[in-house]
Symmetry: C2
Subunit: 211 residues, 2 copies
């Protein structure tokens, strides 16, 4: 019965590492130590496995986002009392620290980025409701802080903010090498610091808020 689970675990790593098209069903089943036909049996085929993998990657992120927002509101009494920085941190934290919501490793971001691009940025149907719910919840919260700003402008700012945090994983490493001039790998990025930086950047980008 845990054949299904082993397939999902193996698929996760392999898809993130080499992409959906770069991984064969045989790769997955070999890595999982199960039979080739298991994928067809449990997921109906490769496409079904991809959908299930993306769902397992995307949903916890948005659930965590919603939870962090709810907790922040509870902590401060009401939406309008949540400081802007805290709001932005709650929005971005699940992406920078995915393992806090059970999503293993930073490969998750690559998997998600791959899928979004390859599917022409179509959110998979199994995750769309949750994604929409999270996005709209934060949109409403941001509107409270910027009552004079047009909603469409706020949405743009949210997109820009999301873009900022989505690309820091990959390009961040490259850019830091460029800036130091050296090519030696400086190891892993300090994610707490990077989260703080990107939050401050986005908060300033929004316009600072009324605070």
């Amino acid at each position: 019965m845990d054949t299904r689970e082993q397939i999902l675990n193996a698929a996760w790593d392999l898809f993130a590492e080499r992409g959906f098209e770069g991984v064969s069903v045989r790769d997955v089943t070999n890595a999982a130590g199960v039979n080739l036909a298991s994928v067809s049996y449990h997921f109906g085929g490769k496409e079904g496995l991809i959908q299930e993998t993306v769902k397992r990657c995307m949903n916890p992120i948005n659930e965590y986002r919603i939870r962090l927002l709810r907790e922040a509101i509870a902590r401060h009494g009401s939406v309008e009392k949540v400081p802007l920085v805290e709001l932005m941190t709650a929005f971005m934290r699940p992406v920078v620290m995915p393992e806090e919501c059970g999503v293993r490793s930073g490969l998750m971001l690559r998997l998600l980025a791959r899928y979004l691009i390859e599917s022409d940025y179509a959110i998979p149907s199994a995750s769309r409701n949750l994604y929409t719910e999270a996005f709209q919840a934060y949109a409403r919260a941001f509107m409270v802080h910027y009552p004079g700003v047009a909603p469409v402008t706020l949405v743009k700012h949210m997109v820009f903010s999301a873009g900022s945090v989505m690309f820091y994983h990959g390009l961040g490493k490259v850019a830091l090498q460029l800036s130091s001039g050296s090519r030696e790998d400086t190891g892993e990025i300090d994610r707490d610091e990077m989260l703080k930086d990107v939050v401050e950047f986005a908060v300033r980008g929004f316009g600072g808020g009324k605070q």
Copy 2:
């Protein structure tokens, strides 16, 4: 002789549309109306075609970036006299308006995003020097506007800015649909307006500049 060119044109569109792994050499040669073996003959194989396609996509962007910076400096006399907004616009404009530097259509961004992710964000060697040159030129220019800010912080801000503009194409459409609540396609995004928006967002994110 223009067989080579026809292959590159067809490859561009197909790779951007379906990804490198999702497009076979036969797809390319059929679309180009040339023989299957032409790819091996002119590019040494599929991988060579990919490299050449990415180079044709990436280099004009960075050349345009460098040219815009040089023109802005010439216009104002020196680097420090170029307004920050103008600097940021020069940095982002080639990505939002790629056809201004001969790069056809917005598919280019998808192609580039695909390649960066699939290659683990490794800049292809045929484009690395130009990429580095452009990046460092802008880094120096930004340093002039923020003499008190640590270079590493400026680089981070540049990465965040690049992320903002890189994702607006895909996620922008999705997000605007979400915000309007409706699912009807509102057609193409106003790119002049979006460029202005993302520039203002990034300038604020940087910290507003010295002025």
